[in-house]
Symmetry: C3
Subunit: 265 residues, 3 copies
């Protein structure tokens, strides 16, 4: 598994996939920079007039309704349908699902009207979409679901996708296989957008790998290791964030081989 | 006073209030990160369909029309009215009031149609709202008002709120009491969003403290001390900004006790 | 030439021009901060109701359709027409021209309906506007034009403006004179918004200098030197970006005199 993860990170750097984001205004700069740091090419485009054309050049489409309005959801549907036609993977980050009706319903609409490849959210968000508990306050999971592996599996089976719940442990499930990743760092909770960035990393990996479980696992192992290394250099959230971009950029096969912590459940 | 300030910063960290921002696109990432650094939970949400529901879960609502359009002002009114019904404090940052008619009038509309708890702006912005002088160019106060304490007091009395003018000295007035804070650092002027972030800190403090004068004073003392400590580590605006997030996160009772500079006028 | 460049950077710091941006959501924070770092005053304003009034106070207008919708293009036209009436320079950054029909056509519309002073783009973007080759994927030039000096010259003559192509070498042409700048650093390619920031620097220089070729040359020499100095301090894209703001702020006459690499072709 670890050698596959290493190979996948190399493939992203070689193929430089275009990662088309329709995402929130809070994290656009960070998700663009993390895309560049891991070797992809970012683009943020949300105009209804261009999203279908833009996604046609992309390796993956990321949908993140963190500062949604109905206009943005419509754009996501246009781009998503085109991505589906072209066989381009679509990754959904259901930011704040469970916090308001608009967020929950918009995410469910995306899940129902599009073929989503991977959903990546926190415990409460994925719980809200699966109808299996958790509490979301704003965009934060303040009450965790009881059995994240089960919740991920249930959502995966319901929508025929790969569901990822990130947190202290990360759970990845396609409804049959479930994988746990224990890489990561407590500093990730102290800055905004670290979940959104993990979704971008998952997307970039999905652009170069047909198996979404392997793509998501590879993404979270590499990103988690980078966070651990950044944590060593951090004296607060400001320095942690700066170091995180450096460490994603500087991630090597050796670091992944030394530090990967993956368990197949 | 200093012990009250220390206690208030602890309360923010314990209670972790949700700070609902309807704010500008330039600073969203920074204001979200400063919220996390001081112990709150940020959310940015501006869709008319969800702002009333979102603010219902919040400890405070921040209104910042820095990149306003009429849509965003309408959302602020919807959210603000719901916050007023629920007794949730509302903090206004009148970015660029005085620079264009749209900005001045939109801020006055928010002041007239909502019950605002605190207004926090620079000298020119608050002067423009009070009709008492100052010149704003873009979002910068290029000519200061003559007597900031008087201007803050006048605005406070006119709208029955707490008015805060930040600058080299910060003035906080509810129309009766006026307090001066002398913490802060010249580097704050070299990066964008430091005013907006100070408003967020004021808001987070107002979420856990009924007296808006004490909340604003505590916020500006703590934020100003963090800025002073960040200034020591800075070799330019880039390193200053990174250090500012670290220092807000690492602020302690001891640092506040050592460095607080508050004067009751 | 070098002494003129030094004098021009001093003039920006003395005159502090207001740099009115109608720009994309990804880089707003960075372009605001680079404006402050080089001594200007940034403002981001895009509401149709205020752009004409705001640009009236500005030294330059920057148009950057990186996250365009038709609304934003309309605002750019309103602001641009007012800038033209007032004789305020207008700088266009054609982000992603060539990548989608909406982007190419919107940039051509701005070129045709406004008097643009400077266009600053990458090789593929300027090639697309000139109809002379290059390939843009997302917002990145993935195939360069063959003769950037010729392409810049052609676009300059066609629209009577100064065209700037940045890349490993930067080319500046008004259709008669062509200048090459060899300052810059490979780290610039590893973070988003470094092109947009260079446009902002060009704009700030154009606000205080009537000759757009000298303004653009000065901007790219100074910014490129700052990038070289930041590169020395970088251990990855995160630390590079932080250092870049510091080094633009700390740029001195001595550094420009030591390191400027300009060739008149």
């Amino acid at each position: 598994m670890v050698e596959k993860i290493i190979a996948l990170w190399s493939r992203v750097r070689e193929q430089r996939p275009l990662v088309h984001h329709i995402t929130n205004m809070v994290v656009m700069n960070d998700t663009a920079n993390i895309t560049l740091a891991l070797g992809g090419l970012p683009v943020m485009a949300h105009a209804k007039e261009e999203v279908a054309e833009m996604v046609g050049a992309a390796g993956v489409l990321i949908l993140n309704p963190g500062t949604l309005t109905p206009y943005w959801i419509d754009s996501m549907l246009i781009a998503g349908k085109r991505a589906n036609e072209l066989g381009i993977p679509v990754v959904l980050d259901p930011v704040g699902a469970g916090a308001t009706q608009l967020r929950t319903e918009s995410c469910l609409r995306l899940l129902n009207e599009l073929k989503i490849t991977v959903v990546r959210g926190n415990s409460g968000e994925v719980g809200a979409l699966a109808g299996m508990g958790g509490v979301v306050k704003g965009v934060e999971s303040v009450v965790e679901v009881d059995n994240p592996a089960d919740v991920a599996g249930a959502l995966a089976r319901q929508y025929k996708l790969t569901a990822v719940i990130t947190g202290k442990r990360d759970f990845i499930s396609d409804g049959e296989r479930t994988i746990c990743v224990d890489n990561g760092d407590p500093w990730l909770k102290t800055i905004t957008g670290t979940g959104c960035m993990s979704t971008t990393v998952v997307g970039a990996c999905a652009a170069v790998e047909r198996d979404p479980v392997l793509a998501a696992t590879s993404a979270l192992v590499g990103y988690g290791i980078a966070a651990e290394l950044a944590g060593v250099r951090a004296s607060g959230p400001g320095t942690f964030k700066v170091a995180l971009f450096d460490e994603v950029y500087n991630l090597t096969a050796e670091k992944i081989r030394d530090k990967a912590r993956v368990v197949v459940l």
